[in-house]
């Protein structure tokens, strides 16, 4: 049985629709804190694979592509707001790498909407919930990238 999120951001189980795996690369200082809280509260689905980074500026295009190669239907990066990054330009760098990955996906005939960058204020949980909802909504409209 797979998971859905209702309008109250609670996860519900649906036997009819399989949510694909979503991989989230999160800044350890901001977004990862939020995802831990949300997971404990059951507000993000089990199918969300959260990978913590010391800074999203550390993310490489290779890692983003690798997530898709390993079975992700969607990938997102959640970093600090542009003017709040501990490393000044880390999340801006991540945004550029997400942009480059979109270009590569497009060249491969894969929908670039399967990857996105989100900016999150330290400790905020709502933007993470919204990011998960957004990516879930996107992939629910697309054909599955990976056969199950």
């Amino acid at each position: 049985m797979s998971e859905h999120m209702n309008n109250n951001h609670q996860i519900t189980k649906s036997p009819n629709h399989q949510i694909g795996r979503i991989v989230a690369f999160c800044c350890n200082y901001t977004a990862s804190v939020a995802t831990d809280t949300l997971r404990e509260a059951g507000l993000i689905p089990e199918s969300l694979d959260v990978k913590k980074l010391p800074c999203t500026g550390r993310i490489e295009v290779h890692a983003l592509l690798d997530a898709f190669e390993q079975g992700a239907e969607a990938v997102f990066v959640a970093g600090c707001r542009a003017d709040e990054c501990h490393n000044l330009s880390g999340s801006r760098r991540a945004e550029k790498r997400v942009g480059y990955t979109k270009k590569l996906l497009k060249e491969l005939g894969i929908e670039p909407d399967r990857i996105e960058m989100f900016f999150v204020h330290c400790g905020e949980t709502q933007p993470i919930v919204e990011a998960v909802r957004e990516m879930t909504a996107r992939i629910s409209k697309l054909e599955q990238l990976h056969s199950t």
């Binding site: 290779h62 592509l65 590569l104 060249e107 491969l108 005939g109 894969i110 990976h146």
Partner: protein
């Protein structure tokens, strides 16, 4: 350094359409410095190709390796045998590396992953510009160090053409007219007598128009 650019992925996928076992081979020379063919780019390309082939329903087995250089024979030596294990070796070196593999490893099916662009300098992170044409007859001592062969759209030898307007080239309004810059620089240094010397008609044979070039230094020969 030599500046190169990766070919479009669909062109590479078409090139390797019949390949089931591939080696993506990077080079830690110029192409690594210009972020096109080093270790990191090998990883990205291999991952993208695996993803593209998986999506097409024809998975591919890809190994990744990067040599110190692909333009020196000692580094290519292992490829003579190892390369035979693969249906193709996709070289992420410049055209020199691809040619050298083809020459030195005749049993290896080598394919190019890059388009070799020009000899250039790194203006800032992610930006490169052509600075030398490898013409084989350098005149930089007469032009304040600025190359009219590489940096003038018409490779003129004796001053700007009539299309130079406001210091910009008529070919591209964002491109400075290099002859305008040469004149300004030499005049500013009170070397403008150099501008009155007429350069003779250029002999293009050293630039490659006389056939492939080769340089030999007797004292270094084995």
């Amino acid at each position: 350094m030599i500046i190169a650019e990766q070919k479009p992925l669909n062109e590479i996928l078409e090139m390797i359409s019949g390949v089931e076992r591939l080696l993506v081979l990077g080079c830690r020379g110029c192409v690594a410095v210009c972020s096109t063919g080093g270790d990191k780019e090998v990883g990205v390309l291999a991952s993208a190709l695996r993803l593209g082939r998986k999506k097409a329903g024809r998975p591919i087995e890809i190994d990744e390796e990067t040599y110190v250089r692909q333009c020196d024979p000692e580094y290519l030596e292992p490829l003579k045998e190892n390369g035979k294990k693969y249906d193709a070796v996709l070289s992420m070196a410049c055209g020199v590396g691809v040619n050298f593999i083809a020459d030195r490893c005749p049993d290896v099916n080598v394919l190019p992953a890059l388009n070799t662009s020009f000899y250039g300098a790194n203006l800032s992170s992610g930006e490169w510009a052509e600075m030398c044409a490898g013409c084989g007859a350098c005149v930089l001592h007469l032009t304040g160090g600025l190359c009219p062969v590489a940096r003038c759209a018409k490779s003129l030898s004796n001053g700007p053409c009539g299309g130079s307007v406001g210091g910009k080239c008529e070919i591209n309004k964002n491109l400075p007219c290099i002859w305008h810059q040469i004149c300004e620089k030499l005049t500013g240094r009170k070397q403008d007598q150099l501008l009155r010397e007429i350069m003779p008609i250029r002999d293009w044979r050293p630039s490659g128009h006389g056939g492939p070039r080769r340089r030999i230094r007797e004292d270094l020969l084995p």
